[in-house]
Symmetry: C2
């Protein structure tokens, strides 16, 4: 008998995917160049040339048995060492390689981090709006998801609602900054306040509440700023990272969990991740990818296109009268729709070949997401369509 739980999940088709399929189909009719597809959060710039060189060099000169052989259960030592020293250098942390667990991208990182610090029936807080894939990540562990309503003024944290939600059933709090879908970077003030509350409540409840920080957009930050590193502000933090966006390697499934060394059981948590892998069949990321990324650890693709696109769209959207908070990073922008029903709004936009994602599935109805990881030239061409859409329909 097939498992009905997973079968039922099939029925719930993702809005993003449906829209993306529409865009592809429409592309076959009018040419994909003429579809202003803002649906998918897929990097639009290639990996660095150096990464390709490093890969070829490994294939040409490394012993194939070492190159393609099993990684140790807790990951390739060179990769773990490279990640730890990079984080230490950049964020004044003191990770050892034993605090780093390599994973299949951020998805693997989050799946391991959640299993390590929650058990069946625990509650995990997430802040709206949030990436809908967090739901299967969390419920897949047996934990329950508890959503804190959005702070729609600034898309920081709605602390009033958060404090109400933070009961003693909550074992972990989940954040994502820079944020998908809002593009907002949590301010140092936000993170400090969050850390203070978590410390107070941990004391009150007699156990340490874990912070799970999903940071795949950490390197895509605008205006020359950097993103505050949450683990620096709150010890009980598991940082989940992926090289999908910073190095444009989403298909190669490479990321990690970094466990704050101040946690007394930090190394145990990493070792536990190895045990968690046994049950889920995850094992390590591909050996050659771990070895290659270790050699280019501080490189990123040329990410400047995202800031350029953001500025063009932000200016146009505000001049068209949209209520929108200026993104501090990522490749997303999150305006309020021009009518209450963002689904209806997005449907109308399709008539102008504009593919916008209504934010209902991000737990923030009335807003929509634009993923501007596309060529700047196309963003510029889309402005006419955007103007026409707004002026005709509203």
């Amino acid at each position: 008998m097939i498992n009905e739980t997973y079968k039922e999940m099939l029925g719930k088709k993702s809005v993003i995917r449906s829209l993306s399929e529409f865009a592809t189909k429409r592309g076959t009719e009018i040419g994909y160049d003429n579809v202003f597809d803002y649906s998918l959060g897929n990097p639009s710039v290639p990996v660095t040339e150096n990464f390709t060189k490093v890969m070829i060099n490994l294939l040409q000169h490394e012993n194939p048995m070492a190159l393609h052989g099993y990684s140790p259960t807790l990951g390739n030592p060179a990769f773990k060492e490279a990640v730890a020293s990079s984080l230490n250098r950049r964020f004044a942390m003191s990770y050892k390689p034993t605090h780093i667990f390599p994973t299949s991208g951020a998805a693997g990182a989050i799946a391991h981090a959640l299993r390590a610090v929650t058990k069946e029936g625990d509650e995990v807080i997430v802040f709206a709006p949030f990436f809908p894939e967090y739901i299967p990540y969390i419920t897949g562990t047996g934990a329950k998801i508890k959503v804190v309503k959005a702070d729609t003024k600034a898309f920081q944290i709605n602390f009033e609602e958060f404090e109400k939600a933070l009961t003693s059933n909550v074992k972990a709090v989940f954040i994502n900054s820079p944020n998908n879908p809002t593009g907002i970077v949590y301010s140092e003030e936000t993170i400090k306040k969050l850390a203070d509350i978590l410390r107070d409540k941990s004391k009150e409840y007699g156990f340490d509440i874990y912070l799970i920080s999903d940071e795949p957009y950490r390197e895509i930050v605008f205006d020359g700023k950097t993103c505050p590193y949450p683990s620096k502000y709150y010890d009980y933090t598991l940082s989940c990272y992926s090289f999908s966006k910073s190095l444009s390697l989403p298909g190669e499934r490479i990321g990690y969990v970094a466990v704050n060394p101040a946690i007394p059981e930090a190394e145990t948590i990493v070792a536990m991740c190895g045990q968690i892998s046994r049950g889920t069949g995850h094992n390590c990321p591909a050996s050659i990818i771990q070895q290659a990324v270790a050699k280019v650890i501080d490189e990123t693709s040329d990410l400047s296109v995202y800031e350029r696109n953001m500025n063009i769209l932000y200016d146009e959207l505000t001049s068209l009268g949209f209520e929108v908070v200026r993104p501090g990073g990522t490749f997303y922008i999150f305006p309020k729709a021009l009518e209450d029903d963002a689904v209806a709004f997005s449907q109308k936009a399709l008539k102008y070949d504009l593919v916008l994602v209504p934010a209902d599935s991000f737990a923030c109805p009335g807003y929509f997401r634009m993923a501007y990881c596309i060529d700047t030239e196309k963003v510029e061409r889309s402005l006419d369509a955007l103007r026409k859409f707004v002026k005709t329909e509203y």
Copy 2:
């Protein structure tokens, strides 16, 4: 609070790992060349040169966005197509690409297959002796493991015990042929009889019992034979494969689940695997590895060393008086120890720098496993130690 279940798993150190660590340590004392390490099932021959060429060619000529971009949720189309047509060609099956789900090696394949066809509390039958990692694979899904005692005469299936165990709580039966640890290939007769029983009981119980077939050693078969393909004999079969052994790519984590097209819900099961991945954070194998393996789908490394080693060891073991069934494949051999306690036996062997794995953890006490995926020259040098060990101690 960290999850105690996973923490407790840490305490249970694997015998194989402990022995392998002993071998490494002893190697630093007397030179690893002088340690006759038969503990680890790790391929000892390199991947084909053509695979390396294909990888370099992809890196040099493929668009990096396509090469390293997200695979579709259900896997890279070229890989799925290559697997389906290879299986069809070799085993006269009729898979379509939509029946193939790419996974992170056999571990990922088994984890998905089990979740697709069992639910919390169901029972899954395995036949002793079996690879101990099956335990976390099965219990990790919430199912219970039910062990059928070994047929120690031929290491085929103990059908008497099997029929007793096959109650209506059993939703899936797990097989592994060619087998780790015995090296035995299930005969066509065994598989036909197994299929008949499963069909009969499925009818009796009113649901289809699934067969989960773990086949990473399918290509390592001796005496010019081939291994009967279980899915050919029983429709409700999910075949789990890995290229770890056939192509010597264990670290690259590439394998698949192939769902028999005769199952009415076959394509649904593949789609469900995509949903299962969401919760476990698995996602696809690395994109470049899927694309490269698709191009070398019918290649194997030069696997002849394993047969050569088997013959040398089998002859020596029998001439020393060991009770041992001649392996039909893999790189394992599974003799009966020369005393009842195989752990004590293996401990004594260490004095002769022979690293043998007692089979208690394989649910078959009194036997031991030798993994002869090492250089033939070393196998030959080990024979003196083996003779000395047996003659001195027994």
